[in-house]
């Protein structure tokens, strides 16, 4: 080849043949105490990642206090019958391990990772936290103060304020309607309540243990049996809350933050859970609308108009009810313009079929990103836990991509017509009313609140 001759093409090379996507084999077991155990190998690094989930979270404890499951899980790591806090933290470091504990609306969890050579000591520590947490008085009070400060700080976080208001609007008195406890509620937490939540939620019959990493599954299962086998405890009674009513008619709520230099928009509506037959369709529709960088929403209000840095839409699959939301932090002058585009892109999907090429792009994106999880232990763990926690079919991972690729433009239009109705979107804007009130009022009947949630005239 002559020196300097250029053979680089002017058009993007075609994709090569796709390599097979193979999910690692999962080993499943159920101990006699009811604990579900799922293991998979991944030898990328000499470590393993794990989660011990309990199928109960803040929603299940709401009648005692909001956020109680989160508070309980937080204090769990601060002491056991055998080890004080300092000992726990140094023992974790000694075996090269990380550990966190927390809870959301539907689950409580202890998450951990460490060197495979110390698997048994790490599992033993997790076991001790799950069964013998002592809730030391001093630690509880310290964590209470931390939580109080966190709850206070939330009131100046625009993203939090928007989310809090939207969840209130969508879910009302349902447990999902309150995203965080108030300062008064945190101040009123009782140690006995944490202990009773712990006894009720942290039981083997209510639990799933997932382990992914550099180990032999048969040997790891033996260790897990040795460590967790003698644990006993029934699962709590399932609490059923009244079905939340989906709000009809588009309304706007403005959370007033004087002097805010930017406005946080959050708009949403009821949707579906992961078990719903339309889940994959809605996921693809969402991705094409605003769930990917190369999506209608992002290309419009960020790349074309420069209104915002990170607009995104999401489908949130809480266990009992799902919801859809679209979020954008925008320049104050373009609140109305941004809302117009957000709603326009929804309406467009309801009436104009998505071109085949654009649909194929979106399908390839979702399909490709789905298999990224294969490449890391954390990614694998995340995929397996989604399947386990939502009780999805055993071949969910293996069949997801073909389900995505089987969808048509007609499917997307039907899905948009069913779930994305601009006339029924609930809109929240968090910002300075002096700058945005007039703009917000253009989109529906307006209610105004301060950052504490008190209605303003």
């Amino acid at each position: 080849m002559a020196a300097g001759a250029r053979e680089v093409p002017n058009v993007a090379p075609a994709l090569a043949a796709e390599r097979a996507v193979t999910w690692p084999k999962r080993t499943s077991a159920r101990f006699s105490n009811g604990l579900e155990v799922i293991l998979a190998q991944s030898h990328s690094i000499p470590k393993f990642h794990g989660e011990l989930f309990f199928r109960s979270g803040n929603a299940a404890a709401i009648d005692r206090a909001p956020g109680l499951a989160e508070m309980t899980a937080t204090v769990v790591r601060t002491g056991t019958a055998k080890r004080a806090s300092r000992q726990i933290e140094e023992d974790l470091r000694r075996i090269g391990a990380d550990l966190s504990s927390g809870a959301g609306a539907d689950t409580s969890a202890i998450s951990f990772a460490g060197l495979s050579e110390f698997a048994e000591p790490l599992l033993s520590l997790v076991n001790e936290l799950a069964r013998e947490a002592s809730f030391p008085e001093g630690e509880f009070e310290r964590e209470r103060r931390q939580k109080l400060e966190e709850v206070k700080l939330n009131r100046s976080d625009p993203g939090f304020l928007a989310s809090e208001r939207l969840r209130k609007i969508l879910f009302g008195p349902h447990p999902y309607g309150q995203v965080a406890p108030s300062q008064e509620q945190v101040a009123a937490y009782q140690r006995e309540d944490l202990q009773s939540v712990y006894r009720e939620f942290f039981t083997p019959e209510n639990g799933i243990l997932l382990l992914v990493g550099d180990f032999d599954p048969a040997e790891m299962l033996k260790i897990a049996e040795k460590v967790f086998g003698s644990w006993s405890g029934k699962k709590p009674q399932a609490k059923v809350s009244a079905e939340p009513l989906a709000p009809r008619g588009r309304r706007v709520s403005l959370v007033h933050v004087p002097g805010a230099v930017q406005t946080q928009i959050l708009s949403g509506c009821h949707a579906i859970t992961r078990k719903h037959p339309d889940w994959v369709k809605l996921g693809l529709t969402n991705s094409l609308y605003g769930g990917a960088f190369n999506s209608r929403l992002v290309m419009n209000i960020r790349e074309d108009k420069g209104y915002t840095y990170s607009p995104r839409s999401s489908v949130h699959a809480l266990r009992q009810h799902g919801y859809f939301s679209v979020s954008a932090a925008v320049r104050n002058e373009v609140v109305a313009a941004s809302l117009t585009e957000i709603l326009y892109e929804m309406d467009k999907l309801r009436s104009i079929p998505v071109p085949e090429a654009e649909l194929a792009d979106a399908q390839n994106y979702l399909s490709g990103v789905f298999s990224m999880g294969l490449a890391t232990q954390e990614g694998l763990l995340s995929q397996f836990s989604t399947v386990a926690l939502n009780e999805l079919p055993g071949d969910y991972l293996e069949t997801y991509r073909q389900k995505v690729r089987a969808l048509t433009p007609a499917d997307l239009m039907a899905t948009a017509r069913k779930y994305l109705d601009s006339a029924n979107m609930q809109i929240v804007v968090v910002g300075d009313r002096a700058q945005i009130q007039e703009q917000a009022a253009l989109f529906g009947p307006l209610e105004i609140y301060d950052a504490q949630g008190t209605p303003l005239s």
């Binding site: 680089v8 002017n10 993007a12 090379p13 075609a14 090569a16 043949a17 796709e18 390599r19 996507v21 990328s44 690094i45 000499p46 300092r86 933290e89 140094e90 470091r93 000694r94 090269g96 990380d98 460490g114 060197l115 495979s116 931390q146 400060e149 206070k152 700080l153 100046s156 976080d157 625009p158 300062q183 805010a260 230099v261 930017q262 990917a292 960088f293 190369n294 790349e303 074309d304 420069g306 209104y307 840095y309 932090a329 925008v330 320049r331 194929a360 390839n364 994106y365 399909s367 490709g368 990103v369 298999s371 990224m372 999880g373 294969l374 490449a375 890391t376 954390e378 990614g379 995340s382």
Partner: protein
Amino acid sequence: MKRLQIGVASTTLSNGLHVVVAPDETAPVVTVGVYYKIGFRLEPQGRSGFAHLFEHMMFQGSANAPKMQHIKLINSSGGMLNGSTSYDVTNYYEAVPSNALERVLWLEADRMRALKVDDENLKNQRDVVKEEVRVNVMNQPYGGFPWLDMPPVAFRNWANAHNFYGDFADLDAADLRDVQTFFKTYYIPNNAVLLMLGDVKPEEGLALAKKYFADISPGPPPPFADPTEPEQHQERRGHVEEKFGTLPAMAIGYLMPKRRTPDWYAMALLDQALQGSRAGRIHRELVLEKQIAVEAGGGIDDLFGYNGPTQLTTRILHKPEYSSDATLAAFDEVIRDVREHGISADELEQLKVKWRSDYYATLEGGRGGYMPKYGLMHLLACFTLFDNETQLVNTILDGFLAVTREQVHAAAKKYLVNEKRAIVFRTPVRTNAKEAA
């Protein structure tokens, strides 16, 4: 102890481009990155924020991939992408199914070869960057603390001390000519490294690199900002306002030694003793034992990726019932103890086990589940660009595991001194009306 050996093949093309391939056929995924050896330090005065704005421009169009095409092609190939700018490097990376490797290389070569952007693109991304600064800094409690507040207090050389997110006036002043000049000067193959990690064979990777990048002309060695700081003889202090939060805050930063000196290894472990995890002394004393602080922690800013003055920093949010003097005194007590006594043998043992574990975790991930091998990519890139020793990835761990108690103690005495530190106090303008007097 299980030994981890990363297979790495590397070469340098005739135009100066370093190429590194780290094969791993476990998953049908490949992570590709291009690192350019430039960062915030070399932004001229009047153009603060330029390197980051320029990074945005790199996604706005190249000769054969006009605006939006780059992102569209990566996403529609099944992948995700991003970029980042820091003090000494700017990187562009994507993780894609491995059948898209050739396409990704074509895209990266296209934008290394010729950026094609216009005034409209520039105006658009300037607007986007301003909203980025607003959402991450200006409209957030403790936004930009301490990473934007500390440099002007800690450093005297503008290269190290300025606002690298950019004053809005400077962002407004940046024009297309600046963009093109910056591109021609710094975005040349001999100032860069191309990395491929995952489902790619070394021969294949190197052959594709040649195919797509070999024709790109090198440029004259670019001028770099001199990051030399005048020697510091006295503690430095600064004060800024916190507009939203009610907890007073402070950040303390100590100057770090140069990368890969013996002191550097010791400081890395000392940093972990002080603030790695909840067992770290600072968190233990200030949050758990004395309960003065609600948050206390930090670290060394990009241990492997810095190539100029940097700090070991601690960020503290403390209860308002404690004065900042009392909080600083509690922090100083932790420092005094480690300067006087060093760390225990048992402590060092624990730290080394954790260090090894964290190193492995870095190799596999480092940017969540969607950007596999980001950490490995970062190490390989920095070892190539700054040390000219790509294979360090397999030997550097030994350096940390060989650190002795005496070395950690000596490092504490040498570096954790008031004369070599800077402190920023961030004071709330609000008091919480609900708080009892």
